[in-house]
């Protein structure tokens, strides 16, 4: 599984856009990039997944350059409730049968200030 590197922590203010970049130089051809969010006292929650270019949903956008060696999770206009740890994961595919566990890196602790 490809190793991922992301900043340990980030600070932001309410209403700002937050971009969290993850490096995954050894990503394999079949690997997808998935981001999870974890609030205190809760399990991680799926945010978004992509393979290349840009993916957007109601929560976030995911930007993946052509070489796919990095990806950027973009959170528009963050609020205090976006304070959480964000994990970048690489591996599997969107059609994975669920037979492989997720491997978590250290994650990025995002603190949103008022």
């Amino acid at each position: 599984l490809a190793k991922t590197t992301q900043p340990i922590s980030m600070d932001s203010y309410e209403g700002q856009e937050v971009n969290i970049t993850c490096s995954h130089n050894n990503i394999a051809t079949n690997d997808y990039i998935t981001w999870y969010q974890q609030f205190p006292s809760q399990g991680p929650r799926f945010i978004i997944q992509g393979y290349k270019t840009k993916v957007t949903n109601e929560v976030a956008s995911l930007f993946i350059p052509a070489d796919r060696k990095s990806s950027t999770l973009s959170l528009p206009r963050v609020s205090l409730s976006d304070t959480a740890v964000y994990y970048c994961l690489v591996g599997g595919s969107s059609m994975d049968t669920g037979r492989r566990a997720l491997t978590f890196g250290s994650g990025t602790r995002l603190q949103v200030q008022p």
């Binding site: 997808y32 998935t34 006292s41 809760q42 399990g43 991680p44 929650r45 799926f46 997944q49 994990y87 595919s93 969107s94 059609m95 994975d96 049968t97 669920g98 037979r99 492989r100 566990a101 997720l102 491997t103 978590f104 890196g105 250290s106 994650g107």
Partner: protein, 113 residues
């Protein structure tokens, strides 16, 4: 999306005792996964549980310490045996419950005194 119910949500246990954590998924899943998360740390995989066969443990985790049951496709238990204060942690279960994306239980916060 599917829901995974995990219980207990927290417990305080005496050293030397055992605690069994239960996870119930509201749909059938092939694999269930058990993780441990130390305070302020990332998740570490303990084992993978497949229905009808013995669980597969990651390096550093053994069956005698963390026995796992998987009696059917919607349920699994993890037992933390002969507990010591070093076992104090959050334990989480997980499974893939959709086309992509894994669902996690809310975790069991264990304190061993």
């Amino acid at each position: 999306s599917a829901v995974i119910s995990q219980k207990p949500s927290r417990d305080i246990c005496q050293r030397g005792t055992s605690l069994t954590i239960q996870c119930q998924v509201d749909s059938q899943v092939t694999m269930m996964f058990w993780y441990r998360q130390q305070p302020g740390q990332s998740l570490t995989l303990i084992a993978t549980a497949n229905q009808g066969s013995e669980a597969t443990y990651e390096s550093g985790f053994v069956i005698d310490k963390f026995p796992i049951s998987r009696p059917n496709l919607t349920f699994s238990t993890l037992t933390v045996s002969n507990m010591s204060p070093e076992d104090s942690s959050i334990y989480l279960c997980s499974a893939q419950t959709g086309t992509y994306g894994y669902t996690f239980g809310s975790g069991t916060r264990l304190t061993v005194v």
